[in-house]
Amino acid sequence: MNFDFSKEEQLIQKAAKEFADKRIAPVAGNIHRTNAMPAEIVDGLADLGMFGIPFLEKYGGGEAGYLSYILALEQLSKASAGVGMIISVNAVGLAVINVFGTEEQKLAYLPQSIDGKKIMSFAFTEPGTGSDPKQLTTTVSRDKDGYLLNGTKRFISNAGYKGPMVVVAKESDTGKATAFVIDKFCDGYSLSAPWEKIGAHGGGLYDVYFKDVKIPAENLLGQNGGGLSALKIAMIYGKIGLTGLFLGQALAAFEEGLRYANEKMHRGESIGHKFEHIKISVADMAMKYDAAKWHAYHLGWAADNYKDPLQLAKEAALSKVFVAETAIDIARISMGIHGSYGLMEDYKISQIWGDAIIGPQVEGTAPLLKIMGAGIILNG
């Protein structure tokens, strides 16, 4: 086994860290307070190719693989979970089109979102369902040249950015769930105010309303009835992104805790050097971060090297759960090291706590993902 990264992987990680330190970290507090992402951050990420790391060079991607993608997401998300959310969700849309799109669709949609000039969304969840295609109420009905889309989608990331959106809707005549790609802000597209969520601020989350949105026939993604397959792909690649994102929260919590343990003084000695329970907390954080890190990095490697897609689906689901839950553990320990100060908004750990706590419940709750993973394990 070789745990070394290639020079290219190291440099991508370093570029992400440098951008995070120099450009994101100074405004992270403001992103958190306003729940808004400055356009310069998105533009800067785009210039560095951070939206296209794993995608093919012929569509403008870095073709650097999913391990590089996770390494970069970890560093970027450490500074702002909202940044991780924007990139991860964009990559979900890209992955679905990459798998199901025709060459014409790929050429039409991939390059601009790989460049980060247009940011993708993926819309499945509705007020009445999280991931059950049978309960979808958003419908498409046949129109003369294509389809008409009507309904409401809930908790849709990146819905406030211009760009393509992959929508899964129920065909009104056949009852089948089918995926389409539409342009956000087309006629009939409207948005709620952004949700005020506990964490990942700056990664805008909206409800989206469709009223007689015209979809040309050529915007059908994959087969009629292929909506569930699209969801499965979205689940796999979404989990890879979120694993990187929540690994970033684990790292942020670990670093903040370690720093505080080293810097907070008690009668002339740092609490980390003085108190046994702080030492144990430091060990716990390190142990848990390492476990989460290797889970995540292996997932990145697996996404670049898998043979059986079901095995990748299992690993993506379970790694995301493990890393997200571990990020909360570390944040809790780190907060404990901070004592009363950890409860204050002035201290970064309080913000990291909010970013970490959302982990097990976004894009597939922990129980759902465990049940999915268990199904693959039990059925082989």
């Binding site: 020079k7 290219e8 190291q10 440099l11 991508i12 370093k14 570029a15 440098e18 951008f19 120099k22 210039d47 560095l48 190719g49 951070m50 296209g52 790391i53 060079e57 870095g62 073709e63 650097a64 590089s68 970069a72 002339g268």
Partner: protein
């Protein structure tokens, strides 16, 4: 126009650990000096201002790792690299680095502007640029805050402690760039992936016939400084004044 940028492979200073006052360099990733990155950025800007004509070539000398380390410079915009690999060289002293770098520059052939950082990130001795200028018998300008070229003339601002002077000199010239005069660009993902494909000329030390006549510096000790400050709390300005008075810095 060929712009040569000399860069030094150094341990990532942020990651050096101190154990029993001794620096531990094992497992510390290698990188290129911070001021060297300012020099590279300056080189890229000089080329841009010259209508993007010419090449930016990185030269470096170090152990085998340098072949990988130099990718960082190629990713950041250098066109090619010319490196001297000396397996034994983990800690080259300035006089030897200068000889190796001069050999690499001669191998490149045409070098119109040769850029260094004002000092390396680790040792910050600031000699190598001047030594290379002497070996190559070229004029030198240190602490450069700005470099412009018009035809075969360079106009360089040298920033001293209390003055700035503008000098002009015919190319070729060795210029040592002031720290932090620019913000080195962060390489993009695709530039990083392309770095490995750029041309790298690798010179094995054994293929060079020049003399390096051994070390000229001996290090007797290298330890983290001990801090033995009193750390006495002072609670009021009155108390602080009393301290300043007692120590003889102020009289009522």
């Amino acid at each position: 126009m060929n712009i040569v940028v000399a860069m030094k492979q150094i341990p990532d200073l942020q990651q050096i650990r101190i154990r029993n006052r001794c620096p531990v360099l094992d497992d510390v990733p290698l990188t290129l000096g911070k001021i060297d990155k300012n020099a590279l950025e300056a080189g890229l800007k000089i080329r841009e201002n010259a209508g993007n004509k010419g090449r930016v070539i990185v030269v470096s000398a170090g152990n085998r790792d340098i072949e990988e380390t130099v990718k960082e410079a190629l990713a950041a915009g250098a066109d090619e690299a010319c490196i001297v690999v000396d397996e034994a060289a983990s800690d080259l002293e300035s006089s030897i680095s200068a000889i190796l770098l001069a050999a690499a520059i001669k191998r490149i052939g045409v070098a119109d502007i040769i850029l260094f950082g004002e000092g390396s990130g680790d040792n910050y001795s600031g000699q190598v640029g001047a030594r290379v200028a002497e070996i190559l018998d070229l004029p030198q300008v240190g602490y450069a805050g700005n470099v412009e070229t018009t035809g075969r003339t360079a106009r360089i601002t040298r920033v001293l402690e209390d003055r700035e002077e503008i000098v002009e000199v015919e190319l070729p010239v060795v210029v040592c760039i002031l720290a932090d005069i620019n913000e080195p660009r962060i390489p993009s993902v695709s530039q990083i992936l392309k770095a490995g494909k750029k041309h790298k000329e690798i010179i094995e030390i054994d293929d060079l016939t020049m003399e390096t006549s051994g070390r000229r510096i001996e290090t007797i000790s290298n330890l983290a400084p001990e801090t033995a400050r009193k750390r006495e709390p002072v609670n009021t300005c009155g108390a602080l004044c009393a301290v300043l008075e007692k120590e003889g810095f102020w009289a009522r």
